[in-house]
C-alpha cells in the first residue's frame, strides 16, 4: 500500500474501500429512517421475461461455437420473438432471415470480422 510519501499500488483502492464503507453505512442509516413498505422486487411475475431473455442470451453464446453464426442468429431471433414476445409467424420468419442476412453482410464482408462457422466447416 505504501505511505503518503510513496503511495503504492494499494493506496488508491484502499482509500476507495474506506470511502465505500462510509457510504454503505450512510445508505443503511438512510434506509432505516424511512419507514416505507418495501415494494416486492418482482411484482406479478415480471421476472419471467427478463429471465427468458437471459436464458436465450446464454443459449446463443453457447451454441455460436457449434452451430455457427448464421444458424444460431436465425434461431435466436425466432426463439426470442416467439418465446419472449409472441409475434405473428410470418413477421418472425421475415425478420429473422432479413436481420441475419444484413448482420452477416455487414460484419463478414464490410467489416471483415471472421464470424464463427460452427462444426460443419
Amino acid at each position: 500500500m505504501g505511505k503518503f510519501k510513496h503511495p503504492g499500488p494499494g493506496f488508491f483502492p484502499f482509500g476507495l474501500a474506506v470511502i465505500l464503507a462510509f457510504l454503505a453505512l450512510a445508505l443503511i442509516l438512510q434506509s432505516r429512517r424511512k419507514e416505507e413498505v418495501p415494494a416486492p422486487f418482482w411484482p406479478e411475475r415480471t421476472w419471467r421475461r427478463p429471465l427468458l431473455g437471459a436464458a436465450v442470451f446464454l443459449l446463443y453464446a453457447f451454441s455460436l461455437g457449434y452451430l455457427g453464426f448464421i444458424l444460431t442468429t436465425c434461431l435466436f431471433l425466432v426463439v426470442w420473438m416467439w418465446g419472449v414476445e409472441r409475434i405473428r409467424w410470418l413477421t418472425i420468419i421475415t425478420i429473422s432471415i432479413g436481420v441475419t442476412a444484413v448482420l452477416y453482410f455487414i460484419f463478414e464482408y464490410f467489416l471483415e470480422v471472421p464470424l464463427p462457422t460452427g462444426f460443419w466447416s
Binding site: F4, L20, R49, L77, V84, E85, R86, L103
Partner: protein, 503 residues
Amino acid sequence: MSEIWAMFQGLGSGFGIAFSLNNLTFAFIGAVLGTVVGILPGLGPAATISLLLPLSFKIGSPVTSIIMMAGIFYGAMYGGSTTSILVNIPGEAASVVTCIDGYQMALKGRAGPALGMSAIGSFIAGTIGVIGLTFVAPPLAEFALQFGPPEYFALTLLGLVMATLLGEGSAVKGLIMVVLGLLLGSVGLDPISGAIRFTWGLHMLQEGIDFVTLAMGMFGVGEIFYNLEKALKTELVTRKITHLWPTLKDWADSKWAVIRGSFIGFFIGILPGGGAVISSLVSYAVEKKVSKHPEEFGKGAIQGVAGPESANNSAASASFIPLLTLGIPGNAAIAMIFAALLIQGVQPGPFLITEKPDIFWGVVASMYIGNVMLLILNLPMVGLWVQLLRVPYAILAPIIVLFCCVGVYSIRNTVFDIYVMGIFGVIGYILRKVKLEPGPMILAFVLGPIMERAIRQALLISAGSPLIFFTRPISGTLMGGLILFFVLQAFFTLRNRKKVPGQ
C-alpha cells in the same frame, strides 16, 4: 489578434477535412443514427456509441470515426424530443422535461409547432454551442498546459461529484456507483508500479476489464433486460403532423427561451460532470420562473419545449470542450467518445489541438455541417422517423442484443467476451432495479486511472502532504468550489426537509 486568426485558419482547414466525401458520409450516417436512437426509447446515445466502439478501427481514421460518434451524440438530442412530444415517453434522457409541455401541445393538436420549434431551437442552440466550442477550446487548452497532477485530481473529483449530485436519485447511491466504478477501473496492472491487482489469478483480467464489454453489457444488454419487464408500448397521439413551421406568435413566445436555453446549456455542458440531461432540467426551471404566465407550464407552453430542447443541444456541443482540452469526459456518452479516441491511439488532453489539429478542427467543423444535416433530417423529414415508433420493441430488442453480441465478439474474436458482457448485462439489470444508475459508474471507470495517477503523483511531489491540493491556486480554487458545492447541497437538503414536515 494572431490567436483569433489562428482559430479561423484552423477552422478553415477543419472544413477542408470535414468536407471530404468520406467524412461527409460518416457525418451523415452519424446524424441519421443519432436521430434514430434519439427517437427510439430505451436506446440512448451512450449505448449506441458503445455498440460502435469495436468498429471504430474499421470505420477509418480517428477523425472519421469521431466525426460519426459525435454525430450520434448530438443527433440524439434532436431525435429525443420527437418521442417526448408524440408519445409522452422520453426518447432519451435529456428530453425528459420535454414530455411535460410537448405532450400537452400534441394533445391540443399542436404537435407540428412543438416538433418544428424543437428542431429549430436545437439547430440554433447546437450552432451556438459549436461556435462556443470553436473559440473557447483553444485558449482553454493553452491554459490547461499549466495543470499538474493536483489540478487533474481536483478536476476529476469535481466532475465525478457533480455528475452524481446533480443527477437524479439518491446522492449516496450515486456516490456508491462512482466508487464502484473507480474500483472496477483499478483491476489489472497498476499504471505506476506495474503490480497486478484484483485479477484473482485470471489471465484475462490482467489488462483490466474491457471498457467496451462493460459499457455494452451495462447499457445495451442491461437496458434491454430491464425494459423486457415493462412491455414498452408506444402509442402516437396523432397520425398526421401538420404545420411544422411555427407561427409568428410561437416565434415571439419562444425566441428568448431558445437564446436562454443555448447559454444555459453551454455553461452547464462545459462544467466537469455537467451535460445535456442536467441542462434541460435547469432550462425548464428557468423558463418557468421568468415566464409572465407560469400557470401555462404543464398545459402546453411552447417555451417549455423550446428552452430545454435548445439547452440539451448546446450542452452536447459544449461537453466536447472538457474532453478535447483537458482529456476529461464529463458524462457517460462523452466517456464513450473518450474511449474511442484511446482505442485509436489518440490521447485527448491539452496537447490535442496543437499536436493533432486535424482531429480537433475536423471534428469541430463537422459539427457545423452535422447541425445543418440534422435540421433537414428533423424538420421536413420528421414524418418518416415517426414511422420508427411503429416498430414494436419486441422486434427491436433482440436485434439490439444481437448487435451487442456480434460487436463484442468482433473485438478479440472470442465467445468468452459475450459471456462476460452477459454477466455485466445481468448486473446492469439488477442495478437498475435497485435504482442505482450505471451512468456515473461508467464515467468513474473511465476517469479512475487518470484520477489515481494524479493523486499518487501529486503526493510524490508534495512528499506526502495532502495540502498540495489546496495550496496551488488552480487546484485550490477547484477544491474550494467542491467544498462550496457540498455546503450548498447540504443547505438545500436541510431546508427542503424542514419545508415538508414528517419526511
